[in-house]
């Protein structure tokens, strides 16, 4: 696995952890430990995106943004349901 691929996986794992905390907080809205964990995962995600952008340019995967070459990024495949031989 390339370092870039590893970093993307790490961001995905944080996205999952954040969503898991959302469900937990819905039924434990005053749990201080859970609230702190949520904020911590959010902070780590922000850091990881920063690291990605330092090394590989814009984190465009989910953004509806203009690519550095001035074109519309959003429609660029592969789309999530498509089989990918090797992760980029």
């Amino acid at each position: 696995m390339t370092p870039k691929c590893k970093l993307v996986k790490y961001i995905d794992a944080l996205d999952f952890a954040l969503y898991e905390m959302v469900l937990y907080l819905d039924t434990h809205p005053h749990d201080k430990k859970a609230l702190a964990a949520f904020e911590e995962y959010k902070r780590r995600r922000k850091e990881a995106i920063k690291e990605y952008e330092r090394n590989y340019g814009q984190y465009l995967r989910m953004a509806k943004k203009t690519k550095p070459d001035g074109s519309w990024n959003w429609i660029k495949g592969p789309w999530p349901w498509e089989y990918e031989k090797e992760e980029a």
Binding site: F16, V22, D26, T27, R61, M62, P80, W81, Y83
Partner: protein, 202 residues
């Protein structure tokens, strides 16, 4: 409203197409205990839910179920790619193929199309949450049954992830039910229906 994240909640990358497996996995898209029904059930029940925390829970679990039906559809799509007419005939995929080619259409493993009868929105907090708890267990059993029939690790890993999510959702709905009961008459939870009766609860 919703925003689309251009990724799956858990990766699906299946090297070897397997139209036979696709025909049973599709039941978790359009079957009686599938992910389409799950998301519609929770997102529909929100409107008669009187409690803010449980409106949040139904919204967030219902939204996650949309991500799950996308994973199931991705699996069916990848399992039925690049098929030859011989493979289609040999695997028994021909009966599906004549109606839908290699599109992903919401049906059960038995070929029955998705129906709204699979879900309920009863407009009663206790009733709806019990429906949700049962739904999570029924989906978990379905994943257990699929895992009994499938060996390919590329298919098993996302199925195992989805099975675990059913257990987490069951846990959260159980807590939701307790939180709802805390607001009701502890000697008789059914004394009134807080979804409908205005003056209700403690």
């Amino acid at each position: 409203m919703w925003q689309y994240d251009k990724k799956l909640q858990f990766p699906v990358n299946i090297k070897n197409p397997d139209p036979r497996a696709a025909q049973i996995i599709i039941t978790q898209y359009g079957g009686p205990d599938g992910e389409l029904g799950a998301s519609m059930r929770y997102l529909t029940q929100r409107y008669s839910m009187p409690y803010d925390d449980l409106k949040g829970l139904l919204t967030d679990v219902g939204t996650e179920e949309l991500a799950h039906l996308e994973m199931i559809c991705a699996m069916v799509h990848q399992l039925t790619r690049n098929l030859t007419p011989e493979e289609i005939k040999k695997s028994g995929f021909d009966k599906y193929f004549v109606d839908h080619t290699a599109a992903v259409y919401p049906i059960a493993a038995s070929a029955l199309p998705w129906r709204a009868e699979y879900i309920q929105a009863k407009g009663d907090v206790i009733t709806d949450l019990h429906e949700d708890l049962a739904a999570e267990q029924k989906a978990r059993t379905t994943y257990d049954n699929l895992l009994r029939l499938i060996d390919d690790p590329d298919i098993r890993e996302p199925l195992k992830f989805l099975r675990q999510r059913e257990i987490i959702h069951y846990q959260r709905f159980g807590e939701g039910l307790e939180r709802a009961k805390d607001r009701l008459n502890s000697k008789n939870f059914y004394a009134c229906n807080p979804s409908f009766d205005k003056k209700c609860g403690k």
